[in-house]
């Protein structure tokens, strides 16, 4: 048994960490967020140089052919820097959907462009993964889609979309297809682009081998969100520890007060085991695929809970400064908030875990 990263995986982590610390300072995050841009071109470009977009795409189509564990390692680093780039949908869910569910023609058409970052694909599965709000939903028939999909990930600026219909079929839609409208949704988290898509007899191509793939990409997306939250949470803890060491009250650093130390110790304790849940969820995709859905459900739901706890506690350690825009701590707070709600709330994911184990119908 070996429950750890390989040397290659550690190298991937180190190279993303190094690059992100160089090019993705808080200022860059702030500029992208304030401009309402879907991504920072420089960060996106450099990360594509490192192979981020093609991480999971087969070498035959110009990708690196790596696994979900490598993607989780990258997701954690992106979360650490609240990096304003598309990833969960465009570099993980969409490539998996097309790689696993597309036929040869579809893979040839889409994957090479996605691998080098020239083609970005958003993913519209919220109605299936998290449940339908506002009576949203998409119906498919005769090669066209109609209806509305909410909370579409990595949507703004994308050239295409993977769209799930109400009965779980998956479709490829080009961004310039007729009858398609993309409406940006502003969430608390301005580091990632979310949209609503509306379809009116919009031409779409079904993913021809898509059976069972929808659940797989949802599971993979859940593991990525958990990894992103883990990275974001670890950084919030570190910022709280650093701030507490600097800030003096009553003539001493507030880090020497047990009330503050215990808050930090609780955050550290809750965060520590999360890494094993995330890695295991990612590992199962290739090695124990029958376990993926349950492992992803545990990772998503548990890290969501820990993420909320850390987001509020780390902010609290910063006192009034935590509440200001000056510190920028809120970018992490908000990223964690969005990760929790996406692709299934903890409650919904736990209910799925109960069904997967046969506890209920």
């Amino acid at each position: 048994m070996d429950f750890g990263l390989s040397e290659e995986q550690e190298l991937i982590r180190d190279s993303f960490q190094g690059t992100l610390s160089r090019i993705c300072e808080l200022d860059v995050v702030r500029q992208t967020a304030e401009a309402g841009a879907p991504l920072d071109e420089n960060v996106w470009g450099e990360l594509c140089q490192l192979g981020m977009a093609g991480l999971l795409i087969d070498e035959d189509y110009g990708g690196a052919g790596l696994g979900l564990l490598e993607a989780a390692v990258v997701a954690e680093e992106l979360g650490r820097r609240v990096a304003p780039v598309p990833f969960v949908a465009s570099a993980v869910m969409a490539p998996l959907a097309i790689g696993l569910g597309g036929d040869e023609d579809q893979r040839r058409d889409w994957l090479p462009g996605m691998a080098d970052g020239s083609l970005r694909v958003g993913v519209a599965v919220s109605e299936i993964a998290a449940g339908a709000r506002e009576d949203a939903g998409v119906t498919a028939g005769n090669g066209v889609l109609s209806g509305r999909a909410l909370f579409v990930l990595d949507a703004a600026g994308a050239q295409g979309y993977v769209v799930a219909d109400n009965s779980g079929g998956m479709h490829l839609v080009k961004a310039d297809a007729g009858g398609l409208e993309q409406i940006g949704l502003k969430t608390i988290d301005r580091t990632r682009a979310i949209s609503e898509l509306s379809f009116e007899n919009t031409p779409a191509e079904p993913l021809r081998q898509g059976e069972g793939v929808l659940q797989t990409i949802i599971d993979a997306g859940r593991v990525m969100l958990a990894a992103d939250s883990l990275g974001a949470g670890e950084v919030m803890l570190q910022q709280a520890v650093d701030y507490a060491a600097d800030r003096k009250q009553f003539g001493r650093p507030i880090a020497s007060f047990q009330a503050v130390k215990h808050m930090c110790a609780e955050m550290a304790s809750e965060l520590q085991p999360c890494r094993a849940l995330v890695w295991h969820g990612a590992y199962t995709m290739q090695h124990e695929p029958a376990e993926l859905s349950l492992a992803a459900a545990f990772a998503k739901s548990h890290v969501d809970e820990v993420g909320r706890f850390v987001a509020r506690t780390a902010t609290e350690v910063h006192g009034g400064m935590g509440f200001t825009d000056l510190m920028g701590l809120h970018y992490w707070f908000k990223r964690l908030g969005v990760n929790r709600a996406y692709l299934g709330s903890p409650e919904r994911v736990r209910a799925e875990a109960a069904r997967l184990q046969g506890f209920t119908d």
């Binding site: 750890g4 520890v241 930090c264 085991p273 295991h280």
Partner: protein
């Protein structure tokens, strides 16, 4: 990352299974936890089983042969395989008492050759049962302030004082004890770690009634107890360092993820078997949600343990990941007991004797005992100090200067 056994470990797992198939009828039908919760004199079959496990290397595996152990190389994966296979077969993997888990590693690290020869073999075979004399009425979390005093008299120490929370003192053959031998030294430097028989004249043991109704620990009084100075383990005055190596071992023992998994599976059985208004509780979505929450935590702790084991195998130093295990594991166990009780509702508060009692009343007893474990071995708050200071590098709370006496 590869969660499968490599070839050597596959073979080893098979060996453990064969042993269990052939011998499990000899095992005492009780868990190590129940022996911890209710320390009592050991039946012959328990000692025989313990000896059999030592001989086959399924407990005390890495203790050198010359001290009665199996002398295996440290292979943390094999230890894990043994634990998992015994757990899967519901067979007790020997007794995890304080002599075995705490005294023996300390002896190996700090004891003289003569002490090792004398004590280790009978201890791992449970022929000598130990208790731990650390806490005192006024020295709990601030253990280094302990006052039990040892004064020199020729080649002996004469010990006077009192210990408390001494688990199993009423059945122990020996005690490992912290006493103040250098009254003028700073508090951490005046303590010695010393061992002596519990039938030494001048020792009085009074069982302490606890909230569970079963006495598991005691007060121990020392009145002019004469102990040879040669019984000090490690150097005189160095007892704090020696004891800390022991406490480290205790902290590891307390957060065992297999025990959490065992609790979780019993909670699941309750959810499936208990009914309310004629419907199985498993149909109740609120209880299901509580169950899955804890299931994710148990899974996290099990996987986290695997990660820590892998790191240790690669020679990485113990760090934050190890420090959090006691705090989280003990809290998790307590929450699992609490969920079990809630599933049973009013039946869950029955105790002692009732035809409706489930599992012999173990749920309430565990709920209370596990709170004890949150407090014992370094309280949750002391654990948080350790995590924040040693793990996160935060400063210690400044010492409060004693106030000048008022006129």
């Amino acid at each position: 990352m590869d969660l499968n056994d490599r070839a050597e470990h596959k073979v080893f797992r098979e060996e453990v299974r064969v042993f269990l198939d052939e011998n499990k009828h000899l095992a005492p039908g009780e868990s190590a936890f129940s022996f911890r919760m209710r320390p009592r004199n050991l039946a012959e079959e328990v000692r025989t089983w313990q000896g059999l496990l030592v001989d086959h290397g399924f407990t005390s595996r890495t203790i050198p042969k010359e001290y009665g152990g199996y002398g295996a190389e440290v292979d943390i994966l094999k230890s894990r395989i043994i634990a998992d296979e015994f757990f899967a077969a519901s067979v007790i993997q020997g007794l995890g008492n304080q002599g075995i888990s705490m005294l023996v590693p300390t002896m190996l690290e700090h004891g003289t050759e003569e002490q090792k020869q004398r004590y280790i073999r009978p201890t791992i075979r449970s022929e000598i049962v130990w208790c731990q004399g650390y806490s005192e009425p006024n020295s709990g979390s601030d253990l280094a302030s302990l006052q039990t005093a040892a004064r020199e008299d020729g080649d002996d120490f004469i010990i006077n004082g009192q210990k408390i929370w001494t688990s199993g003192a009423h059945i122990a053959d020996m005690i490992f004890c912290l006493v103040r031998t250098e009254p003028d030294a700073p508090k951490h430097e005046g303590i010695s770690y010393i061992v002596f028989p519990m039938d030494t004249p001048g020792i009085e043991v009074r069982p302490l009634q606890t909230m569970t109704g079963t006495p598991s620990f005691n007060e121990v009084f020392f009145t002019d107890v004469r102990v040879p100075m040669a019984n000090v383990v490690g150097n005189r005055g160095q007892g704090w360092v020696v004891a800390n190596s022991t406490l480290k071992h205790e902290r590891g023992l307390l957060g065992d993820a297999n025990r959490s998994l065992d609790s979780l599976l019993r909670v699941k059985k309750l959810l499936q078997n208990e009914s309310l208004d004629g419907r199985p509780l498993m149909e109740n979505s609120l209880f299901r949600d509580r169950f899955i929450r804890l299931q994710a935590r148990v899974q996290a702790m099990r996987l986290h343990e695997m990660r820590m084991i892998t790191d240790a195998g690669k020679g990485k130093e113990r760090g934050l990941g190890d420090m959090v295990v006691k705090l989280l594991g003990c809290e998790l166990n307590h929450q699992l007991d609490g969920l079990g009780i809630d599933i049973m509702g009013e039946i869950g508060v029955l105790y002692d004797e009732s035809p409706m009692l489930r599992d012999g009343g173990a749920w309430q007893a565990n709920f209370m005992f596990d709170l004890g474990l949150i407090i014992g071995g370094g309280t949750a708050q002391i654990q948080k100090n350790i995590i924040s200071e040693r793990g996160l590098g935060m400063p210690r709370e400044p010492k409060v200067a004693p106030k000048a006496a008022r006129a």
